[in-house]
């Protein structure tokens, strides 16, 4: 028991460290403001009210105490008594309260004495210090902090104890899953073919209605997410399936985008091809670039490949950025007025008026996404996809099993390049403007992140990953400056909780009845 008290003190220190860190980067206030915005539904909150600031402080203590008390319930150990739980929570609250109050007392005193804290701690403006002190005198402030952390921790401990001792909601997740597995309606949907088709139709109708439901902002985000999903599917073939680390994936994306842009824009080449022709040429050129990159790297493995492709991407970016080629590529200014697909006539006659541009384009992206999905799915669950996976697992053995590794490597790079080129052309057409700034190294990193987060080699994973990498930062806009901090924390947490990705690759079940006849096998095995 003495041992766990020491742990409780440590947890208290941890709470204090988190609180201090949050305060020093002024995130407590930002989170408080976000909470206030949500609850009071105010449009914007200039300075957070002390109430919500306090709630955030208490919440931190609450979660630490909650998880600590929960962790006391281990199989084989005696169940802690409620009084003991409360005592431990009290320790956490007390320790963290004292520490955070001490920090604030120090800062407030220094501030009162005219020390410019801002020169040392960027975020600690006098206003922020005042907010952190709840606008009160130091002794009152210390009391408030102690009260907040202790109350938060006690509540956390209490709730953890209630949950653990009643055992009801603790297994709620497992219970829910069991319920889903045993539920007759869901089983009915899974088994019954007609119902399944109806459900699929309902989903399709929803997907088709989606562009009309969403706001223009939502449409633009969804478009970007889907383009990244296409990009992710392409990279998935190369990295997730065939296991080759390609760092410069943006090169193919840029080649597709620039080919399309140059062919359709009035300047600098003045070709102004129509969408389908330019799109097909863009696919062909990016495929060709795949061959050019693929052939020399045919016999490279692992790290070398990453470096070569990284170099290739930089070459492409420098080329389009250079003034030398500005007459052909637009140089640093980029390319304007890139062509868009024309709406076929039947849409207008069907709904009476032309569809809004952004909605129509979202449909175009959706169609290309669906086509890519189909191709990738077919490839993955075929002889080709299996060979790629075998190469990823063990290249030497795969080759000894008869997989022509050089061929399959180049094939993966080419198909991935074509898909990336398609994504690039769509991006260019959607934006109507592209410049060298659109094809920086971060695009490669993001597309890698898409498949790592979603799950290497998993097709639905690429969609989920694209949503998380491109969609979630937009949802987090309310956090303003802390957006990327929270996003980073989310990514780290996700990779700790699910290292294999959110939707890891699922093996397709293959069934066949053995013939149980040696004669048939003999015939089959005739060399």
């Amino acid at each position: 028991m003495k041992n766990t008290s020491a742990v409780a003190v440590r947890k208290g220190v941890l709470t204090a460290i988190i609180l201090i860190f949050l305060q020093l980067i002024n995130m407590t206030a930002a989170l408080g403001a976000m909470l206030e915005k949500m609850i009071t539904s105010a449009k914007s909150v200039k300075s957070v009210s002390p109430l919500f600031y306090g709630v955030i402080v208490a919440l931190v203590a609450f979660f630490i105490a909650f998880s600590f008390i929960r962790s006391l319930y281990r199989p084989g150990k005696p169940k802690p008594t409620p009084l003991y739980c409360l005592g431990e929570s009290l320790v956490i609250g007390l320790v963290s309260g004292v520490l955070i109050a001490a920090l604030n007392a120090l800062i407030s005193t220094l501030n009162a004495n005219g020390v410019k804290i801002r020169t040392y701690l960027d975020m600690m403006a006098p206003d922020a210090i005042k907010t952190a002190a709840f606008g009160r005198e130091i002794p009152v402030m210390i009391g408030i902090y102690l009260a907040l952390t202790i109350a938060g921790a006690l509540l956390g401990g209490l709730i953890a104890w209630i949950i653990k001792s009643t055992g009801q909601p603790a297994n709620a997740w497992a219970a829910l899953q069991r319920a889903i597995a045993e539920n007759h309606t869901i089983r009915f949907i899974r088994r019954n073919k007609i119902v399944r088709i109806l459900v699929i139709i309902a989903i399709l109708i929803f997907v088709f209605a989606l562009p009309f439901i969403l706001s223009p902002y939502g449409i633009s985000i969804l478009g970007l997410v889907l383009i990244y999903a296409v990009l992710g599917l392409g990279l998935n073939l190369i990295v997730g399936l065939s296991g080759q680390l390609v760092f410069g994936f943006v090169a193919f994306y840029a080649i597709g985008a620039y080919t399309f842009a140059l062919l359709t824009a009035p300047k600098p080449l003045g070709l102004e091809f129509s969408f389908p022709i330019a799109f097909l040429v863009a696919l062909a050129i990016s495929g060709l670039s795949g061959v050019i990159v693929g052939l020399p790297i045919m016999n490279l493995r692992g790290d070398y490949l990453a470096i070569v492709t990284l170099g290739f991407a930089e070459i492409i970016r420098s080329l389009v950025n250079s003034n030398l080629l500005a007459d052909f590529t637009g140089g640093p200014q980029g390319i304007k007025d890139i062509g868009q697909p024309r709406q076929p006539g039947f849409i207008e006659s069907l709904i009476g008026k032309p569809m809004p541009e952004n909605i129509y384009f979202l449909y175009v992206i959706m169609i290309f996404f669906a086509v890519t999905l189909y191709i990738v799915y077919r490839l993955q669950y075929s002889r080709v996809g299996r060979s790629w996976e075998a190469m990823r697992e063990d290249e030497t053995v795969a080759q000894a099993c008869g997989v022509a590794t050089s061929y399959y490597k180049v094939l993966a790079v080419i198909i991935g390049a074509v898909i990336a080129g398609a994504a690039g052309a769509l991006y260019a057409s959607r934006n109507t403007y592209i410049g060298p700034g659109d094809f920086v190294f971060m695009v490669s990193v993001n597309s890698l992140a898409v498949i790592v987060v979603g799950g290497m080699g998993s097709i639905p994973g690429a969609l989920i990953g694209a949503f998380i990498i491109k969609g979630v930062p937009e949802l987090l806009r309310d956090l303003e400056n802390y957006r990327m901090v929270v996003f980073g924390v989310l990514l780290i947490a996700m990779m700790i909780i699910r290292p294999e990705g959110l939707l890891p690759i699922r093996r397709k079940k293959i069934y066949a009845e053995p013939d149980k006849d040696l004669e048939i096998l003999k015939k089959e095995l005739k060399p």
């Binding site: 191709i375 077919r378 490839l379 075929s382 002889r383 080709v384 996809g385 299996r386 060979s387 996976e389 075998a390 697992e393 063990d394 030497t396 053995v397 795969a398 080759q399 000894a400 099993c401 008869g402 997989v403 022509a404 590794t405 094939l411 198909i415 093996r507 079940k509 293959i510 069934y511 066949a512 009845e513 053995p514 013939d515 149980k516 006849d517 040696l518 048939i520 096998l521 003999k522 089959e524 095995l525 005739k526 060399p527």
Partner: protein, 281 residues
């Protein structure tokens, strides 16, 4: 084996003076073997004798420094490993090397790679060829799984199989290639007597029913003496003896290679040390 020079076609595999060096070390030195069709041919020798290196030379993992490997009368050294597999040479590995995060049946489907023809275009458009080939290869994989006694495991991940099952899966994967020649690298390593008996039976069936020639590396003398038609003994990369199990069993050089020529002096040395230790107490 007759004394006169045999025709190439009488032997499925023949090596002529193959030498392979790793830096200053000669791992395989002038080894000549002649493996007759449909035989079980064993290679034995102490650890580090160059047995696995010899396998790697045949299957094309290593480039040999000099000499020639003939497979069905045709030189095969220098060609890539996937083409060696296409010719009908399959192998297993000393430390099991399955595609561990793929399912059991997928492992066997990969093994059939050299016998499949459909390509990526077939796969995307689901052509007739693709569907027929997929169906046939899955059926064959199921039959192979049944043959090695793993039919219940088809959709398990191969890394989750028990050890002995993984060994048998490796053999099934190698069989997917419809091999003429199967190289088995210590198939009975780490097995209990019961399991090795089952393995012996499996290997015998491979030869008698499926007409496959087998080259075997094995440390378990019971297995080797039981099933081999012919044995070659390697030591320090050189062939020191060759013949039927009876010949090898009584060969003085083989005994020395395994136990060391100074075995007795070593025993004496340890006995002396032991005595010294007792006196010190």
């Amino acid at each position: 084996m007759t004394e006169k020079t045999p025709k190439r076609t009488q032997h499925i595999l023949e090596t002529e003076d193959i030498i392979i060096n790793f830096g200053g070390l000669t791992a395989v030195n002038n080894v000549n073997v002649k493996v007759p069709y449909q035989s079980i041919f064993s290679i034995i020798g102490p650890n580090g004798a160059g047995k696995t290196t010899f396998f790697n030379c045949i299957s094309g993992f290593y480039k040999i420094d000099s000499g020639t490997v003939f497979f069905q009368g045709r030189p095969i050294n220098g060609i890539p490993t996937d083409e060696v597999a296409n010719l009908g040479i399959s192998r297993t590995y000393q430390n099991i090397r399955l595609f561990s995060s793929m399912s059991v049946i997928e492992n066997i489907l990969i093994g059939q790679q050299p016998r499949l023809r459909s390509n990526s275009v077939d796969a995307i458009f689901q052509t007739y060829r693709n569907r027929r080939e997929e169906k046939q290869s899955i059926q064959k994989a199921a039959n192979l799984l049944d043959f090695v006694g793993l039919s219940g495991y088809a959709n398990e991940l191969s890394r989750n199989l028990p050890y002995g099952a993984q060994r048998r899966l490796e053999i099934a994967r190698a069989l997917g290639n419809n091999p003429h020649l199967l190289l088995l690298d210590e198939p009975c390593a780490g097995m209990n007597p019961h399991e090795s008996d089952a393995m012996i039976e499996l290997i015998n069936t491979l030869r008698s029913e499926l007409k496959i020639t087998i080259i075997l590396i094995e440390h378990d003398m019971k297995v080797v003496m039981n099933i081999s038609d012919h044995i070659v003994v390697l030591d320090h990369g050189e062939k020191i003896a060759e013949g039927t199990p009876e010949v090898i069993r009584n060969d003085q050089r083989v005994i020395e290679a395994y136990l060391g020529s100074e075995t007795e002096t070593l025993v004496e040395k340890y006995a002396r040390r032991k005595n010294q230790g007792k006196q010190a107490e």
